[in-house]
Subunit: 249 residues, 2 copies
């Protein structure tokens, strides 16, 4: 990457977009506000003529768009991912409005890749997809008609990111080295394994344990060293439990 402008570090991730026209319109919306990093998770049709037509000159963004097989691939390396959603959920993460969400993302984008994640046109993001994000961003809308077009939602968020730039200097620096998506996913797998081997979690009836843990650690914005410490404790515990199982044989 040539420049270190915070907007360069913001990925716009469209999960399973159905209409190629929306992909083009998204590229255009991004370019108007200075964003350039587009990730497409399993798009129904891409590349496509409709996408090119609606991009109206933002072809550079369209041409450099990365097509991913799943959300994990699109979020790899990010330290903060925001699920943009219209409906608040039961066990949802921290909810920010568009303005405060943009500020939260920008604060991290000074140093690390971050992501704005948009769901499919008809049904939005799945619960599993939201659980891979650390925050939820809500675009305020008319409660009687809140159905924002996909590219319009991208436009509002891109606008708020641009508007937030002058405030960046006032934000406190991010302390420590942030853990990224991949580190944190490994932590969750490790925690789940120990929860099972200790007998706390029944893998046949996991309930919402891991969802709760994801929600907790999402709020904390984990640092690399913290993940290392937590995994160190888990490894020590695992070794003890393992040696016990062996001693029973």
């Amino acid at each position: 990457m040539k420049s270190f402008h915070p907007l360069d570090k913001v990925r716009v991730v469209l999960s399973h977009p159905s209409h190629p026209g929306n992909i083009g319109a998204t590229a255009r919306a991004m370019k108007t506000m200075g964003l350039n990093s587009l990730y497409l998770v399993n798009p129904r049709v891409f590349p496509d003529k409709d996408a090119e037509a609606r991009a109206a000159g933002a072809w550079d963004i369209l041409n450099s768009a990365r097509v991913c097989v799943d959300l994990d691939e699109a979020l790899s390396g990010t330290v903060l991912a925001a699920a943009v959603t219209a409906r608040p959920r039961d066990l949802s993460h921290e909810v920010f409005d568009a303005r405060r969400g943009a500020r939260e993302l920008l604060g991290h984008a000074r140093q690390y890749p971050v992501a704005l994640v948009f769901g499919t046109e008809m049904s939005g993001l799945t619960t599993l997809e939201v659980s891979k994000c650390q925050i939820v961003v809500h675009i305020p809308a008319n409660p009687d008609y809140s159905s924002l077009n996909l590219a319009s939602a991208v436009q509002v968020m891109a606008y708020e990111l641009r508007m937030g730039l002058p405030e960046l200097e006032l934000l406190p620096p991010v302390a420590g080295i942030a853990a990224d998506f991949n580190d944190i996913e490994l932590l969750y797998r490790h925690l789940e394994r120990v929860s099972v081997s200790s007998g706390f979690l029944d893998p046949l009836e996991p309930k919402r344990l891991m969802q709760r843990m994801r929600r907790l650690f999402a709020r904390a914005r984990l640092e690399k060293e913290e993940v290392n410490i937590l995994r160190g404790i888990l490894s020590a515990v695992e070794k003890r439990i393992q040696s016990q199982i062996t001693s029973y044989k």
Copy 2:
């Protein structure tokens, strides 16, 4: 408590105040902004004539002040405690300026007790005291002369709390039931015990492990149910390790 006004839920905690005059001036500063809950941790002299004189009519606050033996007692039952400090520290918690810190406290004070913690006049808060708080609040000041009087610091924070009241309706509600100081201290003790029994932590050379864990979970603003889950996992792990030790006998 008769009323549920958020300012009623904000404790002003003075740790080891040396000058009784400052206690009186603090009571007065609090009353001017509508605060009324004063906690004194091990004051050098109290009650005292100087305190009464400087309180200038805020005697109700002085008379109902609670004298505590240590900071744990003063923070008992709170869900968020802010260490007001002039110096940023090495492994410090999240740092807020006075305005944003007041907002953070008010958001929780709609439902739960919170605390503003001020250190002793000469040397401020100790590292141990700061580690019992979840956030650090910094009052911006002239870098060439940042020595705010204790009661003046209380005045600025009380003012910001009052100024933040109209914004309260815009803040998102606090999700879940917040864990309080006592729950969280028990979690730390449990985590430390398992870190030792698993062999991860050498109690003779603890380094900064628990300080790091305090910092992590402070940022997360733990909920009661999350503490219960974490302690459940720790208990399950502990039982396994214990039965292993027994099986070796």
